[in-house]
Symmetry: C2
Subunit: 345 residues, 2 copies
Amino acid sequence: MADHKRARIQDVAEQAGVSMMTVSRVLNQDKKVSDKTREKVMAVVEQLNYRPNVSARRLASTKSFFLGLLYDNPSDTYISQFLLAALKKCRTLGYHLIVDEAHADINKTIESVKQLIDVTQVDGMILLPPMCDNEAVLDVLTKADVPFVRITPDTKLNRSPYICMDDYQAAFDVTEHLINQGHSKIAHIIGDTKQGVSRMRYQGYLDALRSNQIVTPPEYIEQGSFTYQSGMEAAMKLLSLDDKPTAIFAANDDMAAAVISIAQKQGINIPNELSVVGFDDTQLATVVWPNISTVRQPINEMAELSITLLASGQYSDLSNVKSLDLRHILDFELIERESSSIKSN
Amino acid sequence: MADHKRARIQDVAEQAGVSMMTVSRVLNQDKKVSDKTREKVMAVVEQLNYRPNVSARRLASTKSFFLGLLYDNPSDTYISQFLLAALKKCRTLGYHLIVDEAHADINKTIESVKQLIDVTQVDGMILLPPMCDNEAVLDVLTKADVPFVRITPDTKLNRSPYICMDDYQAAFDVTEHLINQGHSKIAHIIGDTKQGVSRMRYQGYLDALRSNQIVTPPEYIEQGSFTYQSGMEAAMKLLSLDDKPTAIFAANDDMAAAVISIAQKQGINIPNELSVVGFDDTQLATVVWPNISTVRQPINEMAELSITLLASGQYSDLSNVKSLDLRHILDFELIERESSSIKSN
DNA sequence: CCAGTGAAAGTTAGCGATAACATTTGTTGG
DNA sequence: CCAACAAATGTTATCGCTAACTTTCACTGG
């Protein structure tokens, strides 16, 4: 099917009747190329299906075409999804992703990041939570002038471009989803207080109730910590109330799964007697029965965008970037499954 | 801390008083270097902390220093773990990992693999299940003379080196673990029949019982399919028997989690009235309550070994490799958690 | 004693791209 | 109409390494 030899920049240059340098300029978005030439070159690039040799490029240029990814907890479900999407995007853009795990000892993490900067010479870094809020790491990167993108950061939002979703709105929507199904006794299990998203989700829940003129007793609010265990404890309290809620919105899927488990233990039918919704759309949401209605984070899009931003180089100098341009909010998706359904009053 | 400039092969050559080529030979394990010279060079390499520039190396040599990884289902928990370990190992060996997802349409997958061979020119491939048993993929790789390693393959074991764990022994051990705790009424939920591991695990279960002179009624064997749903159905049958089992060995964690859920619904205390063990040690095992006793696959070791094997080049010509040398069996680990414990007669 | 041999080490010429500088072409105003 | 400068394109050297060839040198045996 494809030609046996891979096309080189020289082949493109000859075919297009220009110099190699001009082709290189077109490929690197150098402005000093006339539109006519650019089109001519791009046509040949398409025709020969030319892709630059990453290694040659890296060897010759000052850029390394390496991007770094710093993650923390490898068992978090979304790491793999983020990683796979990021790797794919990197491949199409001719970058390589160097993946680094944060160490329990923060100093070792910093040492490792410094290595990425000095030895590997990464062109940019992606910081996943919670490392994206670690000030020491941010300082190292800032001082070394390495651009970085943070995913759903919680603090210091003016220090770098960042990508997030609208947790507040998602919580609002998922609560309203319950309301639309006829529920008014809606309880909420708050997430870990140390994470900003817990606040946002709680606030979205509150505002959805308020905008629908629904008042709930304070006992309907339980504090959790994103763990299954904490969800069980919260569920037991909520389900032992005299005036039980008919729906529970847990701030993540783990806690929602715990609610389901406790409810089933008590012989409460889901969703007929109790609707449950979670948040995150982790694997857990479809592995328990009934499947959990939840909110899906746009993880793939986040991964792709973070690579695109770093590859574009538009953030290599932050001094003249408006702080509004730093924020990238992506759309979430409400996913309705069996754990919540029309309330049959 | 570290010197600002990264050492080049030339620096090593000068410092050691030899030519660059000699250094290159030492680094590439070329046999035609005297021991004395080799030691001298290695000493300088250590001293300068020299690491070859991957890009220059790739550009100049016939090897690409790219390895391909073909995976199938991105939501499988172990993909991310395998991937992270593989990436790490690649980094230390100066390789890059190109990750590719199998397409639902097998022809597209094949096309993609051909691309990896022709365009990216990978030095080797890693095939994760179930792609490792796809004959068309194996044929493409064999025909193109690209070495490949398969992870826990099921068939055609003579076609390539492969890495697996002893599912039979693990099942034997986990069953005996239950026996040692005083159980004799031990049921088993078999996994998906299409996967060879199901057979192995079932056989291990049977043999553990037999070697302990335990006889169980045929109703204690239920057929599942590795899904939560199938686990629920099996559990309901097992727990409605007149002579209920006191322990259930499910062939994976999903089905074990389902058993726990059903048991709790029926008010059966775990582990006091019923012990449950799973298999795989997925995230699920620690996210439900009680945590599931299970068998951990040595995923990290598998990933590292697969990279090491391909990087070593020892399988670049299979014609003179004994079939016994193809097999690499790694140790598993029995993990005891709350779902199984000493039976209080 | 020296041609013949083979192991060990060195030399040269790229791999495929870009940086830096050099050159050509185009545009403007006086 | 052309100097004067900017925009567009070309030329050359080089990035760090290895393949392929060449040289050196120690050791044979007739």
